[in-house]
Amino acid sequence: MDEQDSNSQSEIRDPQSLILFDNVSKFYGEILGVNRVTLSLAPGITSLVGPNGAGKTTLMNLMTGLLRPTVGRVSVLGIPTDRPEQLFPKVGYCSQFDSFPRGLTGREFINAFLMVSGFSRKQSQDLTDEALARVDLMAAADRKIGAYSKGMRQRVRLAQSIAHHPCVLILDEPLNGLDPIVRAETIALFKDLAAQGLHLIVSSHILHEVDMMSDRVVLLNNGYVVAEGGIQGVRDEMEEHPMQILIRCNQPSLLAARVFRSDHVVEARLHNDRQGLFVKTRNADQFYLLLNEVVSQGEIELESVAPVDDDLSAVYEYLIGSH
């Protein structure tokens, strides 16, 4: 990937506009979180990609001061991460912790933490309403968060992280739990925020999502940055590498016969329980179109369609192996 390119860009940028990791290592006792990470992230959407345990959340927690580096230094727009009063007017973090202070409504939750940040009551109320509207949660704003669905909890966390208009937004698996429509709207919101000149740091283990929204990727594996650079390189490599999808349906053999005629399908294998079909395809989008066509003919009833995690790991390995 364009490692050299990105480095030369970083050198000419003002450090006050960058997120910098300077030889950062983080150990949890004897367990490695991340090791010798040196990065400079410029404005735009940067995705941290890697399998579970790769160090994505650790990097995000280091950027926000929730963790302190064992070795090295982290700064965000020139601010050391141990100064929350300077850092968090500029930074919003939508973490993966799916928990909230007890007994609060969505509106109270966002409003309360804006006031903790020093906003006046009136400012907090206005910013809360704006953030709730932005994530389409106004209708449920006065319900207790405890009664929210997973997707609504994800959205209220997102609203809380953007409410104060940060210029750096850090999002840990922000699309988890969202339905396809909200997912598309949220991706559009991210692109809109990035177009306004914000830093967006997004973690994901779903390469397809990363592909849709990122300007740059940082590929992590076992606590190491294995590659970083423009999304085009990853996209090209993904297109060359087959993606595996599991389709649960009532007639997997028939489905196999239908899909195997297509050029981009390289393998179709029945699941052991004979209730599903593993398909390897070089072009996921084309495959989904084909699947829609087959299903619309009415002979096959679909139960579920999901990318297979093992294969995702294989893609990571493939990408990692190529560098």
Partner: protein, 286 residues
């Protein structure tokens, strides 16, 4: 940078005191509500009701022992009940529960990170949480002290109690007990807040301190001074005997014990301020 971020940062730099006071008030609003109406408040209410229940039973079924029949012995009897039941047990464990949960409870609930991700200095967070604990404990336990004293005196000797409170030393004693309660909340509160920050299982240090406070009467004079209860007992308006095995020590005068407790509290809070600056959010390891 967005306009809002600039505004808040400018204000943080140019008017730090007013911003910090506003932040402390915002933290207190959140925490006091939780302390009074959250699920964890149930145990504190149960503790606070314990002496009231006991004194209610005594009001209905007065003991027949000689000292309970003579009003002149009542101030001493109440002093004993206050010291043993209210101060050493209810206030001690009540403060332990309230103050340890300010941080430990949020770690258990996995919600402390929201505070750490707000544009607030962590020592301001400590102050906000501590003051919210103080408001909760003082309202509860000062109220408990007043109700307990009135419930103790009035049912059996109404006329004598009216004279005791309006013309005698009753009211002064009542306010002294309330002041001791406030000081106990200040001192124990700071200790338990720090314990909640430092120790994963705070029950053990709480029990160790409880034991230390209970054996205080057996300790030599120098060791007695390394406790909260020694200074609080020195302030009790009606001194009580600590039993035949007690090691007698001069009570510490109020002009030393009160500022002494406040200074120790301030030092403990400074320690908490240093500790929280280095604190990490790692719920998985808790």
């Amino acid at each position: 940078m967005s306009a809002t971020a600039t505004t808040i940062q400018d204000r943080q730099m140019h008017a730090p005191i007013s911003i910090r006071l506003r932040q402390i008030a915002a933290i207190m609003r959140l925490e006091v509500k939780k302390n009074f109406f959250g699920k964890r408040a149930f145990l504190v209410y149960l503790l606070a009701l314990m002496p009231i229940g006991l004194l209610g039973i005594i009001a209905i079924l007065p003991p027949q022992a000689r000292e309970w029949l003579d009003f002149s012995g009542y101030p001493k009897l109440f002093s004993g009940i206050y010291s043993a039941l209210i101060l050493r047990t209810v206030i001690f464990f009540g403060c332990a529960w309230i103050f340890m949960n300010l941080f430990r409870g949020e770690i258990v609930d996995r919600s402390l990170h929201y505070y750490f991700l707000a544009a607030v200095r962590r020592d301001v967070l400590i102050a906000g949480k501590y003051f919210s604990g103080l408001v909760t404990s003082i309202v509860l336990f000062a109220g408990l002290t007043i109700v307990s004293m009135l419930l103790f005196f009035f049912p059996h000797f109404y006329a004598a109690s009216v004279r005791f409170f309006l013309d005698g030393p009753g009211l002064t004693q009542l306010w002294t007990y309330v002041a001791i309660t406030v000081l106990a909340c200040v001192g124990y509160g700071a200790f338990f807040l720090v314990v909640g920050l430092f120790v994963r299982n705070p029950i053990i240090p709480a029990l160790v301190l409880y034991g230390w406070e209970w054996i205080n009467f057996l300790l030599p004079p120098l060791l007695k001074k390394i406790s909260v209860i020694h200074y609080l007992n020195s302030l009790v308006p009606v001194p009580i005997s600590e039993g035949p095995f007690a090691v007698v020590a001069e009570p510490t005068p109020a002009w030393i014990s009160v500022p002494g407790l406040l200074i120790v509290t301030a030092v403990v809070m400074l320690l908490a301020g240093v500790r929280i600056r280095r604190m990490e959010i790692r719920y998985g390891s808790e």
